[in-house]
């Protein structure tokens, strides 16, 4: 499952993910899977113990993950944030603008949407509203 | 009780122009309903559909549509929605297929249908 960053494809760093529901009371440098129907604020007391939150995108039409990311960032989460699942290149800038650091897709999708398409997506114009802000 | 099978054809919209097309017996596409491949049983119909669905580079949304056959075995649409698709807007006879292929004005053959 390749990871897509602003510089192109990167190999999967395959961390073990803990379901957000099973968040341990103690422990540092946690890596969490946060389903897109969960309440992100439940994680906020543990933000400083978390280094990675992965938010799944079950299909390209399901935009809940974008709001989860905005809310996590609004709540003060500063760790790594990853969108994982069925995203298409056109959604890459949206994911970045909502606060994701990178995107992870499966190999079949990556075969159909090669690296250069993702890099091209990154250069898309930023909506005027964000530029004026 | 199984319903009697109605003859079916494959209809879709052309990817580039967007107009109505039908699959012919060679697996290609035609704008003339008279040239459409006709499925006479459910197995045929499924085969036609399997042949149409992967042709994403040519058409959009292929599906099976019921037809009736006239005495010469030519297909005609049975549902009113399909009639409009084969002709064009009822309020603008100058536009759509009806303007290009006037023979489509032929009324639905009553015989051989349903």
């Amino acid at each position: 499952m390749p990871i897509i960053t602003d510089t192109g494809f990167a190999p999967d760093d395959a961390p073990d993910l803990i379901e957000a529901d099973d968040l341990p009371e103690t422990g540092e440098r946690l890596t969490i899977m946060l389903p897109n129907d969960a309440d992100p604020s439940a994680l906020s007391p543990a933000f400083n113990r978390i280094t990675l939150i992965v938010v799944p995108f079950p299909n390209a039409a399901d935009g809940r993950g974008f709001s989860i990311a905005k809310r996590l960032r609004g709540l003060g989460y500063r760790g790594h944030l990853r969108a994982q699942g069925h995203l298409i290149t056109d959604q890459y800038p949206f994911a970045r603008q909502c606060g994701f650091d990178d995107v992870q897709i499966d190999s079949a999708l990556a075969a159909r949407m090669p690296e250069e398409l993702w890099l091209r997506a990154k250069t898309r114009a930023i909506p005027p509203f964000l530029r004026r802000a | 009780m199984a319903k009697a099978f109605k003859p079916q054809i494959i209809s879709a919209n052309d990817l580039y122009v967007g107009d109505v097309v039908y699959m012919n017996s060679g697996g290609g596409w035609t704008r003339k309903l008279a040239e459409a491949a006709i499925a006479h049983d459910a197995g045929d119909a499924e085969k036609l559909l399997q042949r149409a669905v992967p042709q994403q580079g040519k058409v959009v949304g292929p599906y099976l549509a019921d037809v009736a056959l006239d005495d010469d075995g030519r297909p005609f649409p049975t549902h009113f929605r399909e009639k409009f698709r084969t002709r064009g807007p009822s309020i603008r006879p100058d536009l759509g297929k009806q303007a290009i292929y006037p023979e489509r004005h032929e009324p639905l053959a009553a015989r051989g249908g349903i």
């Binding site: 390209a60 935009g63 809940r64 709001s67 905005k70 909506p127 509203f129 | 580079g57």
Partner: protein, 561 residues
């Protein structure tokens, strides 16, 4: 009028390039139809029964003559010489080719127009009162707000993949001409006791298969809080709106299932959180930019004119057609000696909302010459000249007569709204335009239409209700019943600030039966109204549906009690 700055220009151009690229990828096979479809829809491109249909936004219904001429040019060059003005202040071209759309979008960009977000599960073209900036009853021009919402919602990264489409309407008048209560969010401008400007925020209205009247979620929202508050509503909706069933995915269902109070609590909590964010909410635009937008909508320099025009009075005295047109198709303007003209796109037997290339050009010329270069599109599918001198009405009327656009029927029974229906629309279950044409011919006689007075008929070709049938005094819904087109009549709807959803009159009928049934209904109304001034909707409210049901279904007369 708003003018694009370099950011807008850049963005719209880059979206055209992006669309061309997406289309190329669809053709090359990098994108499947399932992936491409939402992308083309976000650029207003549908695939209909006979061709691709391109829906172009006319944000808050305002355009200038140059833009109208471009719309005409597109119809001529890439379509079949006409376009269809819709109830959502858009224009639809019914015959576009996939491979031409990039060029059409570039032609639109040349005149600061686009088709962005006119479709798809995103925040759609923002609509507003079509008399904005002109109406005598206006508290404040809603367009700077609508423009701000347009800018905020354009390519909003968080809200491009919502559970379902999302429609926002703004009005600055207590008389609601923007149907705010039938939108996902309706904003009504008002002032609080301290005289500060703000909004009443209405949420969860809509039509479709489950019509609902919007509910007030905030009775006073200070103007500066608008964007964070909208952002909060949208975030709650994006996270919690249903995605399991497309028919239950609109915010109206979320509000209904969650309950207004709980919904309000969630939105207010999100809003409070955003307002606490370091440095304030991220979506607050800078005040300079807001002031700049407002400046674009400053009223034109109106001449100082007497309230009456002697020239017009004289012309009317000898020209009954002009007199009838002035009576029906003009509305009170805020400036003395000016008026607002409604150009009816509902000539007898016309397809409601359709305008030919030639007609668009005539209207562009009139707007340029007589209306400070401004035109509007109304949700009633008419075209408005917002700032016209009373003195100029005779010339305008004469020009419209030549172009076949002088129908004197604004607000009358023949001013029918109709969606494209099965003549064009892939979702339709029945035709709507032929029904509208039949009715407009039946009531074509001006004296009869005048005697009937204000009467709205609205027709949709399927349950999606694009033709607003739920809120027509008389609504007509085209369905399919046992393989034929069948029409259901609803009674007592209202699209104004007293929004009401019509009730079903009885079983469906064939297309041929609709005209006679409506004629019997109208005759019954003329019989039972208590004065010539009592509108149908008022008589309906006084007497209920029974006398009208009895007229529609005479065979059931005894059962009606």
């Amino acid at each position: 009028m708003y003018r694009y700055d370099e950011f807008d220009h850049d963005y719209v151009r880059s979206r055209v390039a992006e669309f061309r690229d997406q289309t190329q990828r669809r053709i090359d096979g990098a994108l499947t139809e399932d992936e491409y479809k939402p992308l083309r829809l976000m650029n207003g491109l549908y695939l209909q029964l006979h061709a691709y249909m391109l829906r172009v936004a006319i944000p808050y219904g305002t355009l200038n003559s140059r833009q109208m001429r471009t719309l005409a040019m597109i119809a001529e060059r890439w379509d079949e010489g006409y376009g269809h003005f819709t109830t959502r202040q858009n224009i639809q071209y019914n015959w576009t080719k996939l491979t031409d759309v990039g060029d059409i979008l570039d032609a639109l960009a040349d005149v600061e127009m686009h088709a962005i977000q006119t479709s798809g599960n995103c925040i759609r073209n923002v609509t507003a009162d079509h008399f904005a900036g002109a109406a005598a009853d206006e508290i404040e021009d809603p367009r700077p707000t609508a423009e701000l919402v347009r800018q905020w919602s354009t390519a909003h990264p968080e809200f491009a993949y919502l559970p379902r489409k999302f429609k926002v309407a703004v009005t600055g008048s207590p008389n609601d001409r923007a149907v705010t209560k039938a939108h996902d969010i309706g904003l009504r401008m008002l002032r609080n006791e301290a005289g500060e400007p703000g909004f009443e925020v209405i949420v969860g209205g809509g039509m479709g298969r489950t019509p609902m009247i919007g509910k007030v979620i905030r009775d006073f929202l200070p103007k500066d809080h608008l964007l964070p508050y909208l952002e909060s509503i949208l975030r709650v909706y994006n996270l919690h709106g249903r995605r399991d069933n497309k028919y239950k995915a609109r915010i109206k269902i979320l509000v209904h299932e969650t309950g207004l109070e709980e919904m309000q609590a969630q939105v207010e909590a999100e809003f409070a959180r955003q307002m606490r964010e370091e440095g304030g909410p991220v979506v607050s635009p800078n005040p300079e930019h807001i002031a700049q937008i407002a400046a674009y909508f400053a009223p034109p320099d109106f001449a100082k004119l007497p309230a009456q025009s002697a020239k017009l009075t004289k012309a009317i005295a000898t020209d009954p057609a002009l007199a009838a047109w002035v009576e029906n198709n003009t509305a009170d303007h805020r400036a003395s000696g000016y008026t607002i003209v409604t150009i009816s796109m509902k000539g007898m037997g016309d397809a409601p909302g359709d305008a030919t290339t030639a007609q668009m050009r005539v209207m562009a010329d009139l707007g340029e010459r007589y209306s400070h270069d401004e035109l509007r599109i109304s949700h009633e599918q008419n075209v408005i000249l917002p700032h016209v001198k009373l003195d100029d009405l005779p010339e305008i009327h004469a020009a419209l007569q030549k172009a076949g656009l002088a129908a004197a029927n604004a607000g009358l029974i023949t001013d029918i709204i109709a969606c494209p229906g099965l003549d064009y629309c892939a979702l339709a279950t029945a035709r709507s335009i032929p029904v509208a044409q039949d009715l407009s011919q039946r009531f074509a006689e001006p004296a009869r239409a005048k005697a009937i007075g204000n009467f709205t008929i609205k027709i949709s070709g399927c349950i999606n209700a694009c033709g607003h049938h739920h809120v027509g005094h008389v609504g007509i819904l085209g369905l399919e019943k046992s393989g034929i087109e069948s029409y259901q009549i609803t009674l007592g709807g209202d699209h104004t600030e007293t929004l009401a959803i019509g009730e079903r009159a009885g079983p469906g009928m064939t297309a041929e039966e609709v005209g006679p049934a409506i004629e019997r209904l109208v005759d019954a109304y003329l019989d039972v109204r208590d004065s010539d001034d009592e509108r149908f909707i008022d008589t309906f409210r006084r007497l209920g549906a029974d006398p009208f049901k009895a007229a529609i279904y005479p065979e059931n007369n005894c059962a009606a009690a």
